[in-house]
Symmetry: C2
Subunit: 257 residues, 2 copies
Amino acid sequence: MTMKNNPIILVINDDGISSKGILFLSSLMSNLGEVFVIAPDSDRSGLSHSMTLNHPISIQPVDKDKNKYMCSGTPVDCVKLGVNKILPRLPDLCVSGINHGSNHSINGLYSGTLHGAMEATIQGIPSISFSHLSYDDSVDLTAYSSLITKICLNTIKYNLPEGITLNINFPNINFDQIKGVKLCNPSKGKWHEEFNIIKKQNNKSYYKISGKFTSVNKNIETDSWALHNNFISIVPTAINYSSDLTINELKYLENVF
Amino acid sequence: MTMKNNPIILVINDDGISSKGILFLSSLMSNLGEVFVIAPDSDRSGLSHSMTLNHPISIQPVDKDKNKYMCSGTPVDCVKLGVNKILPRLPDLCVSGINHGSNHSINGLYSGTLHGAMEATIQGIPSISFSHLSYDDSVDLTAYSSLITKICLNTIKYNLPEGITLNINFPNINFDQIKGVKLCNPSKGKWHEEFNIIKKQNNKSYYKISGKFTSVNKNIETDSWALHNNFISIVPTAINYSSDLTINELKYLENVF
């Protein structure tokens, strides 16, 4: 990483370029370096690591003085397009969010906020995803300024372990009730989905998905426990999605050939 | 798992319901149990673990006698809708694919084939993703019938470790050249993307993404090595995406608060 005296910071999200979370985060990052904001033109929640292969993506400056661009694609598209077509060099940091809503437990798998940050990790950029458990976008984020600044400065200075993205979630309580920070694993969790029928036409049924999430928060090593017990959770998320332990457990499958 | 004498098998993919890979796989599975095919109505490659939150999803029977449905959503939507609205009970196996094109190395992260299968794992269904490295859909898959059957019967009988999906890739060579099966980790890899400008209109630039993938195949423990050396690769993919090792390495971040 060069030019650490004036780091370049890429700011992305999945809630869209007008969300309060990204406005706050980009404003905060402008204290640390030169900020580029490249974000979806509207809400792209739940798009995970998806990218746009089958049709063109558009990108346009929103406010040229502020290096701010909106894109018709996914968070992963924003990162790829930013690195290839917008940024003057590989940035020193990518921050994603602050997402309005939880990305702990299995929700990280669906999250465009986290997976946009993971794409930046793949591109070789130290990268952090921030989410607040409240879906109310009027929640006060300013109390987190000092903590976020420390974590970002630390990451610019020391980098992160190779192939690791930080997935940080803030509990849905007032800041003065927060007890601390926990490094942890994602907990088990389950969405109990409901598919509400919207209409039936010809042979087609149209459904809208909704649901209720429950996580298991008994295990003290997990993000659900941490958040339930008034801690901020940090999960080091790996680009390498395999399970070393089960490789040995499943070795016998090599004999099927 | 009940009714193993007549297992229920869910077949999904991301290439779309008319692709040769899913026609072959569903036909093969009909020898093992009662097959339900629930697949996207057209190509949904590169959609990873994305789900449709912001608008309704449609589903319609394609051929009612054969339990075959096509869906306007993503592979993950197909699984969620199938489990909630179509299937008579939780199936005994989910198979995804056979994808026309590679899902080894970091490509698994982008893959709707793999992530549809991972959603089935989340739902509690033993689940396997199959991909062939050839993008040519006229490739002969019949040679794999016996191997796929063995792996599926084995998985129905013994299940898989909790939270693990098998990501299986076939090398792009004739079947008689294949040396065997390797259980392995995903290798490192990198897409060298190109964004080709399609048009500029008003303030917007329209790009179409293409690129060239290179993987590192020197490490004998990886899928890229296995495939490059004429083996079938099996990567046990974990729903828990954290890295235990780096949790300890990053514990010092707990002191930022």
